[in-house]
């Protein structure tokens, strides 16, 4: 059984011949799919090969860790110095900032922020006095 070509029986030879024939007459659709699958696999191998060198993985992890530490430190610093009553206001302000950044509105309207702040304060003062 070491070399099928030498000791194969008629059944084995016949089976191999039929199998080869069935492979040779595969339909175009199947061949096309197999071709696509091969290219997908090659692409996957290429992506795997150009992945960053392994020594960069711990370096990248360390950088990410340091960045998150810095962000956390800044966050704690800001909120430890602020009045606890202001925390809610700051959160709302931050949310509003995010909404402004995320919106598709024209940013030209937001250039004169000082003017709008003054207008808001003036309105508030007027309503209080009135």
């Amino acid at each position: 059984m070491n070399k099928p070509e030498e000791q194969s029986t008629q059944l084995e030879r016949r089976a191999r011949q039929l199998f080869d024939e069935s492979v040779a007459t595969l339909d175009a659709r199947t061949l096309s799919h197999l071709n696509q699958a091969r290219h997908t696999a090659i692409e996957a191998a290429h992506k795997q090969r150009v992945v960053m060198p392994r020594w960069l993985i711990p370096a990248g992890s360390m950088a990410a860790l340091m960045l998150s530490a810095v962000v956390t430190f800044q966050y704690l610093k800001v909120y430890s110095h602020s009045d606890s009553r202001d925390t809610g206001t700051q959160t709302v302000t931050a949310m509003e900032d995010m909404e402004i950044i995320a919106s598709n509105e024209e940013l030209d309207l937001l250039q004169d922020v000082d003017f709008y702040e003054w207008l808001d304060t003036a309105d508030a003062a007027e309503s209080e006095s009135g």
Binding site: F19, A28, A37, A41, Q48
Partner: protein, 205 residues
């Protein structure tokens, strides 16, 4: 045919000292491309015989190719063939397990009576693309369908041993690697497969 290829650079060596040379990457990619083009059709037929569904067989072969390319492309090219068929066999086995579970859960539903692929047992398949005459091709296809049906009745390990040894031409050691078993087991499975097939197909084979 890959015996003639030059030894491929290992992936660690390509990654270790900066970017690999472009020529090395091209050679490696071409070798892998050539290997996959060589095995894909035979692998598809082996998978289709096992799962009885052309589309499922295509998915299984694609998965096997991607896994080989991602995880084992850095291995020496001589090892690709048994590794590829090992992955393929594992994929086929996973699919068969899922089918058993699916049939147990949903087999009572209408429309789940059979998983057989009508296309695989179509005796007229390939006639248009064959170099044989229609009558001869029809005879070949009918014989192939008979062989596939006999193969499907074999236990999975015997079926694997017969396909890998006889169809794919792997030697005993490569088949043992592909089947994750000893060489002695390969010989036993193969011998039993041939014996059973001869009983079922008759002396005319």
């Amino acid at each position: 045919m890959f015996d003639t290829l030059a030894p491929l650079p290992s992936l660690p060596s390509m990654l270790g000292t900066g970017a690999p040379a472009e020529d090395e990457v091209l050679d490696h990619t071409q070798a892998l491309h050539k290997f996959l083009a060589d095995v894909e059709k035979r692998a598809f037929q082996i998978a289709r015989t096992a799962v009885r569904d052309g589309d499922e067989a295509l998915d299984i072969v694609q998965d096997a190719m991607i896994k080989l390319a991602r995880n084992y492309a850095n291995k020496p090219s001589e090892e690709w063939r048994p590794l590829f068929y090992r992955i393929l066999n594992n994929r086929i086995r996973d699919w068969q397990r899922r089918r058993v579970v699916r049939n147990k859960l949903f087999g009572w539903l209408p429309g789940n009576f059979s998983d057989d692929d009508e296309g695989s047992s179509n005796p007229y398949e390939g006639i248009a693309t064959s170099s044989h005459g229609p009558a001869e091709q029809l005879m070949l296809n009918t014989a192939m369908v008979t062989l596939q049906m006999a193969l499907r009745e074999l236990p999975a390990r015997q079926q694997q041993a017969f396909c890998l040894r006889n169809f794919e031409g792997l030697d005993v050691a490569q088949t043992a690697l592909a089947m994750s078993c000893s060489e002695g087991s390969v010989k036993t499975h193969y011998s039993r497969a041939v014996h059973t097939l001869r009983e079922r197909l008759g002396d005319s084979w």
